[in-house]
Amino acid sequence: MADEHESRREALKIIGAISVTCAFPFSADELYGQHTHLVQVQPAAQTGPKFFQPDEFRLISRIADLIIPRTDTPGASDAGVPLYIDMVVASNERQQQVYRQGIAWLERASRQKYNRAFLELTEEQQYALLEPLCDAADRGEAKSEGERFFASIKSMTADGYYTSKTGLIDELGYRGNTVLPQFPECTHEH
């Protein structure tokens, strides 16, 4: 219960802090006069990361883009995922430790194997370093500092991307939250 209240309070605090413009079409407003859905929030200038140092932020941005790359549709950075991760980590001390330890682990591993910083590696080399971490995370067996870090950044990247307007509407094609005069019967051939 306490956690839920905390997160709600956190949510309310954050609403005022960022620019929120909802461009999603609400045909509901046209049909029912009593719909008053307009999120009125003071627009604020887009600010940089609150928790991560610039070099750390570049690194987590790169990893987010390796998890969800730009293809013929936008990738994680295009959807603002790195700032989302920064916001979550900034308010969670345990995650701060996971990220700091994980970043250090990854840089060590990169230098050991390739004698270069992670950001200077080729894409193939970057994937080669991350894939074992991803396998451990997918099996639910993330143990080392690197694995725990990857499990965390993968979850946050997925959450951040697929709850963004880019991810939910443009990429996945969410079509709900509209007014239908009646529910369309299934006429597919399955």
Binding site: L168, Y174, F183
Partner: protein, 520 residues
């Protein structure tokens, strides 16, 4: 100000309090509804049509900025949980009332289906319940508005279930599928549980209490957190004491009858807090059974992707969340446990993609795997009936208090052998039905979770082992009633709200008769 004595003081304004108070007010009885939370405007106060990306942390708050309510269990708001419920409205069957006589486990209710049948019907006429006439022995039909068509995914699941001899029916919900008066038909936005802003879905404030208040017989005391039901030396309750939610000022409301209807756990907590010389362990607790026999439903869950929908174009199938239901089918089958389970499914909302983090891999292949599975995601949630056991009960925390200085209620739940057997079997059946429908299973819940809190003030004919009688009147105090899920002696596997409303309507008629005869 002259002291006003109401005929009836009702604590709580949800499904039970709302139904009961409105019915009494319409019969000319004066009623005070005392609610811990604020008045909530259904059409303007909830974040009904919000989407996650409108919020930096992607968490949609229940209320719009600056709107209060639904912050704690004790201060939700007028309408209680009916504001945010999913509106499933099932009648119990005779089997549900007489479980012990049938399989020897748990308890019988002291009433029969025939006692509640007219009240189920009356409520269906009042509030509008949609559904199909299915002629099932174990899930009685009602007076229904037209059902909502199945989603594509429901058709696929139903076909898979049929191969195993399992029937899938249209869900029955207290949501209008045709307009009536001020209430429009459902517009299928899928946001039922975020507060239905047009009241196509029933809530007790807009549908029951607000119209009844126009009689002049019903007064609201919002923001009034009841801390005690007051009992006199003559063993009669005289009213309630409350704390104002915002000012913390104390107040009292007086009545000839008091009805405690603030949802299972809080009703038990209020009686436990109402200690007096006559009732040192809690009001109406001479039996020592107050808080015992806590029997919440338990649920499991399977997440899956229907393979025939993988890679298909996404469609707008939010609907009114779940459109179909798997009614209990184990009663007719050989099994090694008492009671059974039913399955709700397909009530995920497509704006939430929390499962994406569980898809394996990374990079382009990962991104494609999520996208093609998006239209195919489906959740399956079986609900099982719990049997009472001595280690499952509600009590008060001896130390922790809330901001009103009132002790917090604690829930103690221990799963019994029968509960475990049902859980395993309902999980096994869920997976089998989904496999039969051609599903790729993503996750299967390993542990039961509670939902639909029931029991704690159970109904019975023996005052030594129960708290209220068949009319929801406490055995101990002749003008004190408890009406909500806490009175259920056995839980059934079916969603409880329709039965709570039926009990409330029946108790209202009973109270009105007694007032008329000047018995109270």
């Amino acid at each position: 100000m002259p002291r006003k004595t109401y005929d009836v003081v009702v604590v709580g304004s949800g499904a039970a309090g709302g139904t009961l108070s409105a019915r009494l007010a319409r019969k000319g009885v004066t009623v005070a509804v005392v609610e811990g939370g604020p008045r909530v405007n259904t059409s303007t106060d909830f974040n009904t049509h919000a989407l996650p990306f409108e919020f930096a942390n992607r968490h949609i708050p229940t209320m719009r900025p600056g709107k209060e309510g639904f912050d704690t269990e004790r201060s939700r708001g007028l309408g209680g949980k009916t504001m945010l419920w999913n509106a499933v409205a099932f009648r119990f069957s005779q089997r549900d009332f007489k479980g012990r006589s049938i399989d020897g486990a748990g308890e019988d209710w002291p009433i029969n289906y025939s006692d509640l049948e007219p009240y189920y019907a009356s409520i269906e006429r009042e509030i509008g319940v949609c559904g199909n006439l299915d002629h099932l022995k174990d899930l009685p039909d009602g007076i229904f508005l037209p059902p909502v068509p199945f989603k594509c995914s429901d058709v696929i699941v139903a076909r898979g279930a049929a191969k195993l001899g399992v029937k899938v029916i249209h869900v029955r919900k207290a949501t209008r599928t045709t307009p009536a008066g001020a209430r429009p038909a459902c517009h299928y936005c899928g946001n039922c549980m975020a507060g239905c802003d047009v009241v196509a879905k029933y809530n007790s404030y807009d549908v029951h209490m607000a119209p009844a208040a126009r009689t002049g017989n019903l007064d609201f005391f919002p923001d009034s957190v009841v801390r005690e039901v007051v009992v006199s030396k003559e063993n009669r309750v005289t009213g309630v004491r409350y704390v104002n939610r915002t000012t913390l000022a104390e107040g009292e409301v007086h009545g000839r009858v008091v009805v405690v209807a603030c949802a299972c756990v809080q009703s038990v907590a209020l009686l436990l807090m109402s200690k007096s010389r006559l009732y040192p362990t809690g009001l109406a607790n001479s039996s020592g059974h107050l808080g015992k026999h806590f029997i919440p439903h338990f649920t499991g869950g399977v997440e899956c992707f229907l393979t025939s929908l993988i890679g298909k174009a996404p469609v707008n199938d939010e609907g009114f969340l779940d459109h179909a239901y798997v009614p209990s089918f184990m009663h007719e089958r050989k099994r090694d446990y008492a009671r059974s389970f039913g399955i709700q499914f397909n009530y995920q909302n497509r704006r939430s993609v929390g499962w994406a983090r569980s898809i394996k891999g990374m990079g382009k292949a990962y991104k494609e795997a999520v996208k093609e599975r998006y239209p195919a995601f489906l959740t399956f949630s079986p609900y099982g009936e719990m049997l009472p056991n001595p280690e499952s009960y509600i009590d008060l925390d001896p130390e922790k208090k809330d901001k009103f200085g009132l002790p917090l209620a604690r829930r103690h739940v221990k799963w019994g052998e029968n509960d475990r057997k049902i859980f395993e079997d309902m999980t096994r059946w869920s997976v089998e039905i989904l496999r039969s429908a051609g599903a790729e299973i993503l996750s299967v819940s390993k542990e039961p979770r509670t939902n639909h809190e029931l029991g704690g003030c159970r109904m019975g004919s023996d005052p030594r082992t129960s708290i209220v009688n068949a009319d929801c009147r406490t055995h101990d105090v002749e003008n004190l009633y408890v009406v909500d899920g806490s009175v259920f002696p056995s839980a059934s596997e079916k969603n409880p709200t329709h039965t709570i409303m039926g009990l409330a309507a029946r108790a209202a008629d009973h109270i009105a008769d007694r007032l008329k005869r000047r018995e109270v």
